[in-house]
Symmetry: C3
Subunit: 355 residues, 3 copies
């Protein structure tokens, strides 16, 4: 991983009055560009082959400039170009996925957030060490032969939940599993899914206090999963199995929701614990993160995954959410990132939020 | 129940230029506080042990002051303190539940709305007398031995829908029922649930006219119920029963929605009938109320319950809804309550909206 | 169909400084009236028997004037009255349905959009010629005897999806079908439904370029269908069949959602193809239209229907959506229509958007 010193050296040569925000043209780029512009920052869209035409339909979110690559794998080749434009990269999920983990952590361009989080987040075992170490309740890990109730089986390499499946018995597991792939078996928690969109600021002083900095919760969503969300129209999973039709869990979009207000203390506690543990383990997870949870009928919250950067569920709230409206008007997560970068700049603390 | 005369006597000693809005720190308090502040009123949060930290993350909704109690049951002990701060209580569902019905109706602090509504709303039989007397279509009551199609069985004491269950036959009913608890059996209506958020103003003159005052419909939501909303991913209710897994109906949050515009005449008619009947029966249900309904595929609306105060589903619309936007900008139900209190104050008609 | 020449002759006598927007009091009229008023245009509500009272509850959307008819079939009788008020009709789905296809296309009142689209859209065969000719992927048509997997059976005359049903085998089909009605059998696509709300402007120059004019995508929704969306609470379709309970697909409302940003290029491509083909086939589909789709777990989008005018799903976004917010503030589809009419007026190009 590129060292903090090297990044700060690069930033040392930046014309800070002309910072620009760069990201890959996908995932949550509309709000990242729109938010940066609202905060008066320039924007750069990184795209493959040619600028995507759809930005023309969203003038407020069209980046000021595009940098074209042949393939996202070539982003390292434009590092100098990005640096020459005083760019800060805002990495979203697709950015890291398209570029590749190794290439991302080495990229010699200042990047919003702490890149060290990746090694804790990208491996399910490490993630569990982090979250359970923080005192978070996760679905139990289950050994195949111990299955005696519903479990969710997740393949490590699976893109977007396509190979995931639910089993209720060992027999059912054996019938479905592809033994050639690495998988994890988790207890299936019955309840309703909530994805909480937090923001950790090491810089702001007013707000929900942590040991260092403050915690915000800007919005929440539920993912829309294809085909699992609507397949019940055809039949129950067992009935469909006979017909060779299987539920899949590929995210196609997001719906807005709010949680019972009485859950807010618990929700914030979860966010707080995760950040505090991240400070201990690897110097802190900076900026936006998402806890992916199930709320049970006992009103317990089980966290089944963490995303340590902006998630696409925040796209619903490009002009504010029922929660962010209580912080600031028209506040998207993308805009909040731009605010944090500006604050760090004005307080000469860019080292605290970039890596 | 404390008399109107006593309440008006208390109000008579208030410094009306320094009214404050008080409620319990839960349920819909964020919008109640945010709305009051937007209308220039002071706010008081009533909390147990210590101020909840989460308000620090929502600066616009953080109350100006907290009053701490050891237990919500102790709210009567702070009545004098509330009165000394010229407080008007805005009771939400949790307020009444936490404090207790008897204590709530006797509380010697001016309270928004008509406390008489409680005896009609808190008893399922009385509620049915009120709503059916208003000409509202409710799901039929069914005797256990007459079950010959889907019914919903609701326990009287059940908190948040946990013990509710669906049965399709008498045998299924007998297999599930806990004979030690009081229950109600209602016809199960197939359709889609809509929760309509109304506001009855006895003071405003412009608008949807009732015999006295006007009716507004500010928003609608659908409740998210755990685990019923997602349990189909595991299997059908019958398949899961064998595995000892049962659907439950605990509200964990809310999603926004809108209804077909062609339903609006009927929706308003329902609200109108309920208010008119409340005026006849007990002097009127003042302020926000919610009709909890199922819209069938014949586009009929069956009302299965009424909440005679602000419901948590309005939390989605802290900065306006597709309906309230047509009344006023950034209008939450919480803010609408503050507007009504201000209007009553300026027109010297606080007796019409407080009890 | 009334000729363009005749319409332009009528418009030639209009007092263009006093244009008004007229539509039937249902469907999406609130945003049409609200949007027109925001753009400074007068509004006329066409209603049966008497003005619907519910507008009184939505002052910003109450039309300036009502014209009362005995039945929507009588709208042709008020054509002169509409013309004398310089009215442009904005036809929504209910407008066309209530008035009737034949009467609508002959109505001698200037109408927003191209009325020729109706003959392509109202017949499922023609619709398929149009969409497949544009290179759009639709669910396959299936012959009854070829059913060997899930299909959706749609009756031609069915109002709002009530008679639709799903079958997985020929036997199941035969058991359900009403042989006295005309039906279409389509492959049932498993996935999640998205309804994309586009706007085609032949006049604007800046934006997502088509061969003539530009394309916008202002919002998306998912329809709420009664009772199909909640019937899984009772049991699987097969279990319920025994009890004589059948899923139905009647739209009762809409929920908001957003799609994965990586789908936007494909979504725009679909809109683009449909418009370009409409330009070739019948002079173009002007203004708002909706593609009704299923997004599969391969992230393919299958279009199962098109609506060539404003759809009720846009009612969610009366004050803007996460997409329209990137075009303009507080931009509903209703308001966008009013903007287009004003632009055409100021550029002397009303012939391009009226018929």
């Amino acid at each position: 991983m590129i060292s903090k010193e090297r990044i700060m050296e690069i930033i040392g040569n930046y014309d800070l009055d002309n910072l620009s925000i760069a990201t890959v043209c996908s995932h949550s780029s509309l709000q990242i560009f729109d938010g940066a512009r609202k905060e008066g920052l320039k924007t750069i869209g990184i795209c493959v082959k040619k600028p995507p035409k759809f930005y023309d339909a969203f003038p407020k979110a069209k980046p000021d400039e595009f940098i074209v690559v042949d393939s996202y794998k070539d982003i390292p080749k434009i590092a100098d170009e990005l640096v020459s434009r005083n760019a800060v990269i805002v990495p979203h999920g697709s950015f890291v996925e398209y570029l590749g983990y190794e290439e991302f952590v080495d990229l010699p361009v200042p990047t919003f957030g702490n890149r060290s989080v990746l090694e804790w987040e990208s491996d399910r075992e490490q993630e569990r060490v982090w979250l359970e170490g923080a005192g978070i309740h996760m679905p139990r890990k289950v050994k195949a032969e111990d299955i005696n109730g519903p479990v969710m089986v997740k393949y490590h390499g699976a893109k977007g939940g396509k190979g995931f499946f639910i089993a209720k018995t060992f027999e059912e597991f054996k019938r479905h599993v592809n033994p050639d792939e690495k998988y994890t078996i988790q207890e299936f928690i019955t309840g309703t899914r909530y994805y909480f969109h937090f923001f950790y600021s090491p810089l702001r002083e007013e707000g929900y206090q942590l040991s260092e900095g403050i915690l915000e919760m800007l919005s929440m969503d539920r993912r829309v999963e294809s085909n699992a969300d609507e397949i019940f129209r055809l039949g129950s999973p067992r009935e469909l199995e006979a017909a060779g039709i299987h539920p899949t869990y590929v995210v196609t979009g997001n719906v807005p929701l709010v949680a019972r207000e009485s859950l807010l203390p618990l929700i914030f506690e979860l966010g707080e614990k995760v950040v505090e543990q991240s400070l201990k383990l690897f110097g802190g997870m900076i900026g936006p993160f998402c806890l992916e949870t199930v709320v049970t009928d006992d009103l317990e919250i089980k966290v089944f995954e963490i995303s340590a950067r902006i998630v696409a569920g925040t796209n619903i709230y490009l002009n504010g959410s029922p929660y962010s409206d209580l912080v600031d008007s028209n506040l998207s997560t993308g805009r909040r990132i731009a605010q944090e970068i500006k604050l760090a700049r004005s307080e000469n603390q860019l080292d605290k939020i970039l890596s």
